[in-house]
Symmetry: C2
Subunit: 170 residues, 2 copies
């Protein structure tokens, strides 16, 4: 049986779950119910969830998790190379999945705070060259482009109302 197409529980996610299991073994740590829940919830969520948001989403699915457990597991995910920690300047850590295929950079509107993701293919080669020139072994990268999004340009230039939803993919 296959999951419905709108969710992200697809082949990619299954391989992520495998990656995770393998990573846990490699790191010499146990595979627990909570860790599986957190990974599954994290992979199913769109955007860049914060620990608190992951906990909220898990609760919605009937799983009660301690925040500390989420922080600890997210750190594991980062160590395992499955997640990356980002900072959008809103005072809390945000995480995105990292599977080597969906590389992108972030366009962050300085007025409404929304983020747009764009593929990074056009600049990635340059990053590699650059790292090589510094004898630097590149593991991952994060690019933030700050400015004004289309919507805020149309809107009144001094509108400072922040949206509740931070992420819009387009």
């Amino acid at each position: 049986m296959y999951a419905l197409p709108q969710t992200r529980s697809d082949v990619t996610d299954r391989s992520c779950l495998d990656d995770f299991a393998r990573s846990l073994q490699r790191l010499g740590v146990k595979q627990t119910r909570q860790r599986k829940v957190i990974l599954q919830v994290f992979l199913d969520m769109e955007g860049h969830p914060s620990p608190e948001e992951i906990r909220e989403e898990a609760r919605r699915k009937g799983h009660r998790l301690g925040l500390a457990t989420i922080y600890r597991t997210l750190k594991l995910l980062v160590d395992a190379g499955l997640a990356r920690k980002l900072d959008f300047g809103d005072g809390q850590g945000r995480y995105e999945r990292r599977d080597g295929k969906e590389r992108h950079l972030h366009l962050i509107c300085q007025q409404c705070g929304r983020t747009i993701e764009a593929p990074v293919a056009t600049v990635e080669g340059r990053f590699s060259e650059l790292a090589e020139a510094h004898s630097f072994v590149l593991h991952s990268h994060t690019t933030m482009l700050y400015g004004l999004c289309k919507a805020c340009l149309k809107r009144a230039p001094k509108d400072t109302t922040k949206p509740t939803k931070r992420t819009c993919s387009e």
Copy 2:
């Protein structure tokens, strides 16, 4: 020709001070002794100082400042377009000057935490194209490349699985 790196109190800084004075006026706020000190100290410092480090450096120069004042002033600097807030993942906000001429990106070693700056010229054009494709008005950008620096490669050529920082528990 290359400028000597000892002090940054040069023509660039003087124009920054002017920018700042102008920006303060434009924002309708006052020009105080503390604000001038903070800007001067910030411009004179190398690297990416945190609020605490700015306070320390100011004290070394004989100025006693409240941390809250520094936070508030740094926010002003960011608003005025003279500084940019960065996150190197060490749990505190770090700031860099932003004057439109010294654009660069950051190579961050995940083992020793050291950062290398590299000119961004080779990728900047791509960023502009990309922003334009999204009808996004680009103000500034921040790029972080994570990996291992030359020194750490020599030091521990095999241990690439532990990107710990000083906040690690062991």
